[in-house]
Symmetry: C3
């Protein structure tokens, strides 16, 4: 395990300060990030609604990898490296589709939906098809979310990592949800800048007027960087409102609870539940819903759930729709940012423009902000700067990040 | 000679398997390829029809080099590095043209068509024009084909290498042929992937419907990877047809014979002659000719010649036209692929769309295939895969490739 | 100070010959150039006319740096690194504008026009705003020209370097000049190729018909490479004309004198004054003025001043307008070339197309020439070539360049 470069620089990391510029622009550190962080995590590749029927597939691209996510049976979704075992060609070249077999377009080697090699013409007599199935990628489905893990050995235990999320995911009905809209915002910045931007709300007021309009300012200050993360008086101001809402939401069936994994955890999960702007039923411009209630809800409770599966995958759920955020490292200074709007599986009369109004604008703003951050950091005069009290979660992320290089499972 | 990287990796090369990914994407290995392989070979830069008149020139770009191919006399074609001896500027900036002198557009240093420096204003008294002629590139013309060799020392003997091809080239009339059409298919893949794709026909059936429609399937299976390279029964099936055709073709004047250089040879030449689809006179969609008979032919013989001058230059000749294939390495993952359709020098009523139908479509397919191969190989999970019995020539190419790094002339 | 690579190669530099190819295309040498040459010099970022009113700013990009040039008071212009002290974001994202504060768009950290941090919400109690002002860039204004210096320590003394230019700049009225036009010619070539092209006129006759039409050929030959730099007889031919003009110009108030810093100087300045084409009042197509007389002039004197502040900044002044040339290294093979046409501050009826006719065409030609030079030099067969007698100043530049790596102030 060569983590020399990252370890050396980490020694220079100063608590409470942003990272050294090399963490954001050095190709060697990006390669280490891919090996020791990205390739060790369970990352959401997409929602099962993309592969409802047997043979449906889509490609998930991460770093230099292309992963085929394919439904091979009613209860089975497989993930394979999109690399033919013959001479390494991509097998699937379209972003999504439906197939009965996975057939390489080059020499027609043909694999079953379970990855087994079914046909390869004119091979030597001692060639064993059974040894030439597609390279499998670890895959698990949890209430509609398809997780993959690039680890070449045994990955972190999935159930132990995510099992306690089931009751929340079940209440929101994600297993049966359907995709209302998707949008990509490819961002020319290192993945850590994309994550750091997303895990703090210090920038919400100056940068995100639409987002800010849908939320109680006191909640953004008190909880923007995690549970009770804001200044003490802001927390005190907001707590009575929050507690009253929690009781009301519980009465309507919402599972209560908070998750706040520490920097020593494998996935740095976070689950927060709180109110949206007073009088608003949904995170829309006017607060009116854009779809029907999701999952097991019986009435609008004027709340929202924020759930981080990991720094790479986040979920924001208002009562009538949810947004899945995927931050996928591609190159040192390029990160794919993909949003998926989910609605209840039975919803038919939903309004996409109203539903996407907030997060589409907000994510475009984040793309611009983050790209400007990347360019600024390239300056030789950039020096790590002090974090505000509102950026505690960025510090936690940084601590978690450095911890990945010393993990026994990495 | 620093061939450390390639030699080390070659030790890991496993016979019968595709190469390690670094051979296809590592910049250091590409630099070694340029130095020890590409720069040591006689490579066809183009056909003399491009430079019929004195002063006609065209540029041939290979790696970072731009070579001026210019006719300086009725019997003389010269090749020069397109680099002014003054301060290194490109001299010719247009892809082709006609000039009386080679004059650098920067400071007007002017060279004769023989490369001698004729004029350079205001130079110091001890400046010797005779020492400042253009850097010559080795060049030879063989029956219309202009070969260059980038070697800084004495290159491999040209006549010893290609002399035995004369009777074939003469019969096809290449010296007097003219260019009917040219087309470029720049391919984002390492040059070895482009070559490997071209020297096997295992992919023809799945990937090339047009090409396959013009050929007897049994010939593709039996001879697709070289003389009698296919499975024994396929060879047995096809041999009677082939022998009958050889007699018929010989009776019509076609020189017989086969060339199949081994992996220890300098240029890995191959010359194959066989039938095309029964009832077809030419490699066109309906089998009807697209031009008049080439060269010394007296009648259509329903055959075709395939000739590899080297892995970088190939020639396919049906009775009425021929296609020249140039595979020119430019960068690690970029190869120029250029096709030139040649017809008899006296042809006037030829049909370009019908003539190009097969290979234009086939080469576009090859570009796509090869680029997908390159992307797939970038995956960290790619592992060298087993070759089929139909890819023997790919193995031979690989063996030849590794042999280049230990050659006494490299 | 790691200047190993450059020093080693410099040993191979042969006097009177162009540089080794690595000086023009090696990323390591470019990094050394940025550190030891570019970052040590006073470079003109622009003219004060761009920031006339308090709060006016523009960005100057050099290498990976973005510098904010902002007027903070009637007599004060500041220069700051465009890098927020918080997390490194660009602060200004538009090329120019007018602001009352410099506010980062990310988290709204707000700086005064003097660079002091004025507002940063929610910071820890021990955070000291006074320690978090913007990183200052050295800046000086000399008769309207804004110079910056990226040096992290004390830069070369400004007044000692440029003080003797004041009487010339004052006569031309540059302090009060205004910008008539600007144009960018980004050039895909190493900065040294751009400079070398500009400091010799050996290429003027073959490459620049418009430029050559506005000048006496004998002056170009005699003085094109610096004072009396041409062949002795050419100098003899031109000197009488020059001397007569100098007397006439002096009688009209023009300060006389020549500056010709040697290669040991810090900035390699040059100031030349000479005639333009006989009968011409201005450097225009027909010789008629394109604007009113600049500065303290009382009448047209048919002369022009050429002033190099450094290899990166040049000024050409005819009687009625002047052109500022900025050559700004960005990447190894990319240089920003920006021209600014200046007229007298009181001019109102000037003719931009006529004024830009000569240098716009000439600079487009230089861009093409220089890019062709860069491509040619990439050839492995490029070898340093002999300079003509007309390129003495290129040799001087080269000598100066190598000297930068051993300077006590570098």
């Amino acid at each position: 395990m060569d983590t020399g470069k990252t370890s050396m620089l980490a020694l220079n990391a100063r608590k409470g300060y942003s990272l050294d510029r090399n963490f954001y622009c050095d190709d060697g550190i990006f390669a280490e990030d891919m090996e020791h962080v990205v390739s060790r995590k369970w990352i959401v590749a997409g929602h099962v609604d993309r592969v409802r029927r047997k043979g449906d597939y889509f490609l998930f691209k991460i770093g230099d990898e292309s992963i085929i996510i394919v439904r091979s049976g009613e209860a089975t979704i497989n993930a394979f490296y999109n690399v033919c075992r013959h001479r390494g060609s991509l097998i699937c070249t379209q972003p999504s589709g439906r197939v009965s077999r996975l057939t390489c377009g080059y020499h027609a080697w043909s694999y079953g939906l379970d990855g087994e090699l079914l046909a390869a013409r004119l091979m030597p007599a001692d060639f064993a098809k059974k040894d030439n199935g597609l390279h499998r990628c670890h895959v698990r489905v949890l209430h509609g979310f398809i997780f993959i893990n690039l680890c070449e050995r045994d990955p972190v235990d999935f159930d132990a990592t995510f099992g306690d999320l089931e009751r929340h995911l079940d209440f929101h009905g994600f297993a049966g949800a359907k995709i209302a809209h998707t949008q990509s915002y490819p961002t020319d910045a290192n993945w850590k800048l994309v994550v750091e931007n997303f895990v703090e709300c210090y920038h919400c007021t100056p940068s995100h007027p639409e987002f800010s309009s849908m939320h109680p300012p006191e909640a953004l200050i008190a909880f923007g960087a995690g549970t009770s993360s804001g200044p003490a008086d802001a927390v005190q101001d907001y707590l009575p409102t929050l507690r009253a809402w929690e009781r009301r939401a519980a009465a309507l069936g919402r599972p209560s609870g908070t998750i706040d994994d520490g920097p020593d955890s494998s996935h740095l999960r976070l689950l927060l539940q709180r109110t949206i702007r007073e009088g608003y039923d949904s995170e829309t411009e006017d607060g009116r819903p854009a779809s029907t209630l999701m999952g097991k809800r019986r009435a609008f409770d004027q709340g929202r759930m924020y759930l981080s599966f990991s720094p790479f995958t986040h979920l924001v759920a208002t009562n009538d729709f949810a947004v899945l955020f995927q931050f996928t490292p591609r190159r040192t200074m390029r990160t794919d940012v993909d949003l998926t709007w989910l609605v209840d599986g039975a919803a038919s009369d939903y309004d996409v423009p109203r539903m996407t109004w907030g997060w589409d604008r907000t994510t475009k703003q984040d793309k611009e902000i983050t790209e400007n951050n990347q360019v600024g950091i390239l300056s030789k005069r950039y020096r790590p700067g002090r974090y505000s009290e509102h950026e505690r979660r960025v510090e936690t992320f940084q601590e978690w990040y450095f911890g990945q290089f010393g993990r026994s499972d990495s």
